[in-house]
């Protein structure tokens, strides 16, 4: 481990990792960033493996690596709508690896190398396994919810004293960890350690059970940070600086994404994890007056689009569910052909993970220069003749601006209501995921297009291409 050659290789790998992330600041240099990351990984692994007197079980390692390839390759071929699940799954694998290495090290120490049972090492290994295993089960739960596996309830599950239970389980795990640190050579050390493992596994499940789909972007980001931090803790346990730096980069990435997601929902971390979208939204006091939608026909909407100079499309999770992105690209082409400016307005929490909409639209070959972030496009909203909302709901609800009683009050939204006309594509007449009524749909300038996003956009395209006599 103290081999100078290995350490120098780690220095180079760390620098390359930093450049990898630096080059992600622009889509033009991102590919270079990826190459830099791959090179760094190769250097790190090769330098570790090239310690001939240290490593003997090459057969074991080869088998594990081949198995990793066999599972990793298909996981990289999933459809892009499944990327949130895949990401959650890879956080689970990261957490599992950290947990298992921590477990292996701990038992190695108590069985064969008691000189390593120092307070610092025990504290580090306790943190490593708690973070590792809770990330493992938590991420598995999140992946299951995203994949809509039937065994795992989609809707948030809540029960009395939930937060007290959750915090109690975690506190118990940390309490046992402290007991271990204070009594490193105790006879019960092994049992206590296994109890910590068990409690952490349980805590991961409990943490995710009360969380619903709309909170997934934040939760995935937080799990990302935990996975990174568990790698950092592993670095402390193994006295390995490369693990600490790479883990810290991953952890800080997860942290920044979490902050962006929380801000975009106007909520705090604590509120997402222990809070409340879980609790059934309080029935809103209906003002008595019957609110009514105005529906529009596909022909009418197509005409409205055709006569516009500037169109903004606001996609949401409904677009991903309906796989409507390719139809939207056809619509984009039809409008572009008529010299209409088309922009896409992207809310940071639209979809199920950070950046989800961008990837889906890029997949459909829509140039990224037309994908505009919420903060950038909002001031221009009044200039758009038509705002076409496709499968987005809470992120365009003007109630967030003025209705103090609304659960989403204060959340930054894409101000679709400021465009001259709004067409909103919506699957059913029920309120969206959070159960909040959308004021936008009742506005004077809004016309609803009911139906599956893919079908509705397809109809619009048909109308536009059929009557393209200009």
């Amino acid at each position: 481990m103290t081999d100078v050659f290995t350490q120098l290789a780690y220095v180079v790998a760390t620098a390359l990792f930093i450049f990898a992330l630096h080059w992600m600041n622009d889509p033009k240099t991102a590919a270079r960033g990826l190459k830099s990351g791959v090179l760094a990984m190769f250097i790190g692994v090769a330098a570790t493996w090239a310690q001939p007197d240290l490593l003997v079980n090459h057969g074991w390692m080869v088998v594990a690596i081949v198995a990793g390839f066999a599972v990793g390759w298909p996981l990289s071929r999933v459809p892009l709508t499944a990327v949130p699940q895949r990401t959650a799954l890879s956080h689970a694998f990261g957490g599992l690896a950290a947990g298992l290495v921590g477990t292996a090290k701990f038992f190695l120490w108590i069985e064969e190398e008691p000189q390593h049972l120092t307070a610092f090492n025990l504290a580090a290994v306790t943190i490593e396994v708690i973070l590792g295993y809770l990330t493992f089960t938590g991420s598995l739960m999140a992946a299951g919810k995203l994949q809509e596996i039937r065994l795992i309830p989609q809707r948030p599950v809540t029960y009395p004293l939930q937060n007290v239970t959750n915090i109690g389980v975690l506190a118990l795990a940390f309490g046992l960890g402290i007991a271990l640190v204070l009594n490193p050579n105790a006879e019960w050390a092994g049992t206590a350690f296994l109890a910590i493992v068990g409690l952490s596994l349980i805590f991961g499940v409990l943490l995710i059970i009360p969380i619903g789909g709309a909170d997934m972007p934040t939760v995935i980001s937080i799990l990302n940070a935990y996975a990174g931090l568990s790698a950092v803790a592993m670095g402390f346990v193994l006295d390995n600086k490369l693990l600490i730096t790479a883990g810290a980069l991953d952890g800080s990435s997860g942290l920044i994404l979490s902050i962006i997601m929380c801000r975009a929902m106007n909520r705090s971390f604590v509120n997402v994890l222990f809070g409340a979208f879980g609790q059934a939204p309080k029935a809103e006091v209906s003002s008595g007056e019957e609110k009514t939608y105005k529906s529009e026909t596909f022909e009418g909407a197509a005409q409205g689009l055709e006569q516009a100079n500037q169109v903004v499309i606001i996609p949401g999770y409904g677009m991903a569910v309906a796989q409507a992105q390719h139809k939207i690209r056809e619509l984009y082409d039809q409008l572009k052909k008529r010299n209409i400016t088309v922009k896409f307005a992207i809310h940071p929490v639209a979809g199920r993970m950070p950046g989800h909409m961008n990837v889906l639209l890029a997949e459909a070959d829509i140039p990224y220069t037309d994908l505009v972030e919420m903060d950038e496009i909002n001031p221009d909203m009044p200039q758009f003749d038509v705002a076409l909302v496709i499968g987005a709901n809470d992120v365009v609800n003007p109630a967030a601006r003025f209705q103090k009683a609304s659960p989403i009050y204060g959340m930054p939204i894409i101000e679709a209501d400021k465009a001259r006309t709004v067409f909103a594509v919506k699957r059913g007449k029920n309120p969206g995921f959070s159960g909040i009524e959308n004021e936008l749909y009742f506005s004077d300038k809004t016309w609803m297009l009911f139906g599956d996003a893919k079908k509705v956009v397809g109809e619009l395209v048909k109308n536009l291409s059929g009557g393209s006599g200009h």
Binding site: H22, W73, V83, N121
Partner: protein
């Protein structure tokens, strides 16, 4: 490995790496947040180094098994993380690049 670990310098490295990470990640294009996540996933799978050490050294069988599973899990992340990042990055095109 018998000499005690220099904890303070490890904490130093952790602090600096976190600050650099925060500075660099803050500038990442919002367009690329999904590929960023898959890339950092792959990067933190450098934990494979730890798994290699635990699996490869001459340890009892149960320790080796734990290490091998960890090695498998990290390797999965490296392979799928880098490959899917590559797949997604290729999709981001400018106006002129469309086929």
């Amino acid at each position: 490995m018998t000499e005690s670990v220099d904890y303070v310098s490890l904490l130093f490295v952790f602090m600096l790496a976190t600050l650099i990470g925060l500075g660099v990640i803050r500038r990442v294009s919002r367009l690329l947040h999904t590929p960023l996540m898959s890339l950092t996933n792959a990067i933190s799978a450098i934990a494979v180094v730890g798994a290699i050490i635990v699996t490869g050294e001459d340890h009892p069988l149960h320790i080796r098994i734990l290490g091998a599973i960890a090695l498998f899990a990290s390797m999965t992340n490296i392979v799928s993380g880098f490959l899917i990042t590559n797949r997604m990055l290729k999709m981001f095109k400018r106006e002129g690049d469309r086929s």
